[in-house]
Symmetry: C2
Subunit: 144 residues, 2 copies
């Protein structure tokens, strides 16, 4: 990383760049110019351990970027399992549409990490934004 | 620019990077990897025209970076002339030391733009940080 991007540049991507460039390429298995977004297994890593795994260069960071496959709660179901050893990620608020110009390209879900097990659990300050590809054709109506 | 740095990267250099990499290379006439900092003549350009000249890519910016030679007020003197057609840049506060680890590498002067002519003139919201190389050996004692 350090050797590719000149001094003074920081990774502060917009939602549009994350979805329209990074996620789109990842899903299509296309080469991404710079390997700044790590692959992790979100269900095997606690939020406080992400820092070490997703570090970019030598910067102090307060945000970390990663790719992770969604895990199903049950093999045959559609519900997503977002539990780790220490707790679970729980969605909050409404999903936000991500546009490229005026075209819908994806959605952003916000999740909060709770320590413990649902439906109990202790809310923490850890926030995750989960991005997915989406277009007008496949978009869920409630999510626009 | 756009074609060299991957999506999501923004130019947000630290004082240390500006002095220790960009200014140092410029003064030594060394090649800078990416031509992000433009050469301008500060005495022939008004602050509100900098935006157009110092644009990086297509980003909305609220800060602009440039190199400019210092102009002498009088050919034989050491006083610096920082007047433009519309006004002048006036130093404010104390100069700030710029360190690389614990080593002094430069100084940062803060200036405010006034419309009109000194000693009158109307203060504006335009702020400039002027960086210079400096080391312990040549450092002015009042500036530390």
């Amino acid at each position: 990383m350090e050797s590719c991007v000149p001094p003074g540049f920081r990774f502060h991507p917009t939602d549009e760049e994350l979805v329209g460039y990074y996620l789109k390429k990842k899903v299509a298995s296309q080469k991404i110019d710079l390997d700044v977004i790590r692959d992790i297994d979100l269900y095997r890593i606690e939020p406080w351990d992400l820092q070490e795994r997703c570090r970019i260069g030598y910067e102090e960071q307060s945000e970390w970027y990663f790719f992770s496959h969604k895990d199903k709660k049950y093999p045959t179901g559609t519900r997503t399992n977002r539990a780790t050893m220490a707790g679970f990620w729980k969605a909050t608020g409404r999903d936000k549409a991500v546009h490229d110009k005026n075209k819908l390209i994806g959605m952003r879900k916000t999740l909060v990490f709770y320590k413990g097990r649902a439906p109990n659990g202790q809310k923490t300050d850890w926030i995750m934004h989960e991005y997915r590809l989406e277009s007008e054709e496949n978009g869920a109506p409630q999510a626009s």
